[in-house]
Each structure stands twice: as C-alpha cells, then as structure tokens.
Subunit: 131 residues, 2 copies
DNA sequence: GTTCAGGCTTACGTTAACGTCAACTTCGCT
DNA sequence: AGCGAAGTTGACGTTAACGTAAGCCTGAAC
C-alpha cells in the first residue's frame, strides 16, 4: 500500500513496459530500485527517471544518452556548464531529427514521383534492370 | 578496356560502395558477377541492378525486399499480377515512410516546444528527475 | 625472383534494445 | 505439504548490413 514503492509489475502496468526492459535499464544503470530481499521496489525517483527515459526515447535519444543526461542531474553539479551541455545535446538531436525528416521528405517525393506514373515506374525498373 | 565488364574496384569507385558491400550483395543473391578465374567481373546487368539496389536503399527498401523485386523481373513473368504486387509494395513503403515522417514531425514539434523554453527545459528535466 | 598490390574466402565482430529460455527461490494459500 | 504465481539471475538469440582480420593466391612490376 505504500504508494511510494512499486513492484516491478505495477511499474510495467503503469508505464507499459516489460519486466525485462526495467531490468535491462537497471543493468545499464538508468534505474536503481531498492531491494526487499530479492524483489525490486521502485521509488518515486525511479518513476521520474523512467518517465524521462521514455520521453527521451520518443525524442530519439539512445539509452546511453539518457543515462548521461540523468547522471548530470544526479551529480548535483548541473551548473551552467553542465546545463549548457545538456541544452546542446538536445539541440543537436533536434537538428539531427530535422535533417532526417528532410531526407525522408526527399525520398518520399522521389518515390511519389515514380508512383504517379503508376505502372510506368515498374517499366522503368524493368528497363534499368535489363539494361 | 572492355567497358562492358568492370572490376570490383571500378564498381566501388563508380558507385561509392566498398568491395565488402558488393560481395555481401552477391552472397545475398542480389548480384551475379562473372568470374575470370577468381576475380569478379561485373556486367552491365549488374550495374543496372546495383543502381536499383542503391535507389531502393534511399527509399528505405531492405535488401531482401529489393532482392524479391529484382527476382520478379528476372523471372520474366512480370505480368499483371506481378506488376501489381510490385506496385503495392512500393505504395506500402510510401505509406510507411509518410507515417514515419509524421511521427518524426510530432517528436520534433514536441522537442522544439521544450527547447523554446531554453534552459527552462532543463529545469523541467531536473524537476522530473528530482520528483 | 621476389615483392607488392589487389582479390579471394571464411568467419567472427559490431550496435541497440530488449526477447526468450532455463533453472531457481520465495510467498501466500489451500 | 504442496502448488501455482511472481520474481530473480544468467546467458544466449534476434535483426541488418556490412566491418575487420587472418590467411592464401596471383599476376604484374622491378
């Protein structure tokens, strides 16, 4: 009943992740649940971190990147220099994503162009393959 | 001098790929260079196929998908049914790419939103991590 | 005649983020 | 006692597209 501590299953249900994932994150030092005997007990802190981890994933951050970011806050020395670095990481990631999207847009346009010619695209493929 | 046949190195230079990649494609049955003793000799047909393979990669087709497509043309039975299937594969891929781009756009917007608050984003991270 | 570039084959390594066993232990319940 | 549910720790498997290294061959150049 201690709402402060959650079992692995409660965590899985709450965040829609698998037990394996949580243990994996722990092995990668992204989470540090307490132990009651063998069992893991996740604290509010773990939940906060997991939330950030999942958000980071949506942004395309790797687990390793998230670990580094989380470590910065943990060390409590997230002063100017550290904050700026974090900010930079995020900006770089954003730039990456924008480049990626632009490339995707190009590819889509190119492919769409082919498709507009319908079966003609296929004929093009055939010519290229034959020649 | 036989412009019809190219060595592996000429191919690499012409298409900007590594020898390893060409041998890999061959092992996956995407290319079928001739042999002069040990050495591979790439024909015009191989060049056509490679061009398509690389184009396919830009479109996000997997090598396996390209192999299947190329096989269709090879079998020479690329009649209506086959053509329609090819067309469908391409359309599905296009839809996939569009979905992917939309997700990317969402993520970008979300991240941009965070960044617009500048260092405030970082504070948000800190609050979340702490709480 | 030897060295050297370039090619060849075989096979293991890489990266990310888990999935999927196998083999226990523990706990509450009957 | 016994049983099933739930949790735990290894440890190997997965996917894609090559990279990398080891060891061998071969023709051309000096």
């Amino acid at each position: 009943m201690d709402d402060d501590l959650m079992t692995i299953r409660e965590m899985c249900d709450a965040f829609d992740v698998t037990p394996r994932a949580l243990r994996f994150y722990e092995s990668k030092e992204l989470l540090f649940p307490l132990r009651e005997g063998q069992k893991r007990l996740y604290t509010r802190r773990d939940r906060g971190r997991l939330k950030l981890i999942l958000r980071g994933k949506r942004f395309g951050f790797s687990l390793e990147e998230m670990r580094q970011l989380l470590d910065l806050y943990d060390r409590g020395d997230a002063q100017e220099e550290q904050l700026r670095r974090t900010y930079e990481v995020a900006r770089e990631r954003l730039a990456q994503m924008e480049r990626q999207r632009d490339e995707l847009d190009e590819a889509i346009e190119e492919l769409r162009g082919q498709l507009e010619w319908g079966a003609e695209m296929i004929a093009s493929f055939r010519r290229s393959a034959a020649e």
